[in-house]
């Protein structure tokens, strides 16, 4: 098994466009193709499947996951805020300090 040193930024550069699993602190799992991400681990995923307790619950064409507990600059109209909080727009906000627990490349799951 070849082992090479790899920093987080190296990892992030090489996984764009690949199938990934993103796990949130809440335990919810998202699988899809990584569209883009930034240094705060905010993530955009395409063809997203949402798994809760290992069960497929939802599918989103596009999903945005917030990485860290930064103040959000996204401006929503008042009528959009409730649906965003309920996750209906494909937005998920973590309840704990950091929403994203890890980002994993997908080979297979146990």
């Amino acid at each position: 098994m070849s082992l090479r040193k790899q920093t987080p930024s190296d990892f992030l550069k090489q996984i764009i466009g690949r199938p990934v699993v993103v796990k949130l602190n809440s335990g919810v799992d998202y699988r899809g193709v990584l569209a883009c991400l930034d240094g705060y681990m905010n993530i955009a995923i395409e063809q997203t499947e949402e798994y809760v307790n290992g069960q497929l619950k939802n599918k989103y064409g596009d999903a945005f996951l917030r990485g860290n507990n930064a103040y959000s600059f996204l401006r929503l109209r008042p009528e959009q805020i409730n649906s965003a909080l309920r996750g209906e727009m494909g937005f998920k906000w973590g309840r704990n300090a950091a929403a994203v627990l890890y980002i994993s490349t997908q080979k297979r799951k146990a």
Binding site: M1, P8, M41, N96, L101, Y102, I103
Partner: protein, 87 residues
Amino acid sequence: LDATPAELVDKCIGSRIHIVMKTDKEIVGTLLGFDDFVNMVLEDVTEFEITPEGRRITKLDQILLNGNNITMRNPGQKPHEYGSTSL
């Protein structure tokens, strides 16, 4: 004796390490690298949940672990020897 925590973590690159998260979860994997925020790139990862059943999820390949939720790590020890020790 190593001067900085970063040097200590750097010594573990290439080894199996065991990481305890804030949310009663433990991650074991081979450390490939880390950054200033102690986000970690790990390979051949097993994820353990601290529940009575001891549910386990295994991911091969590589993960980037968010450093925000790490409470403690030590090299090589099996999770069940120490149980839940989150700070």
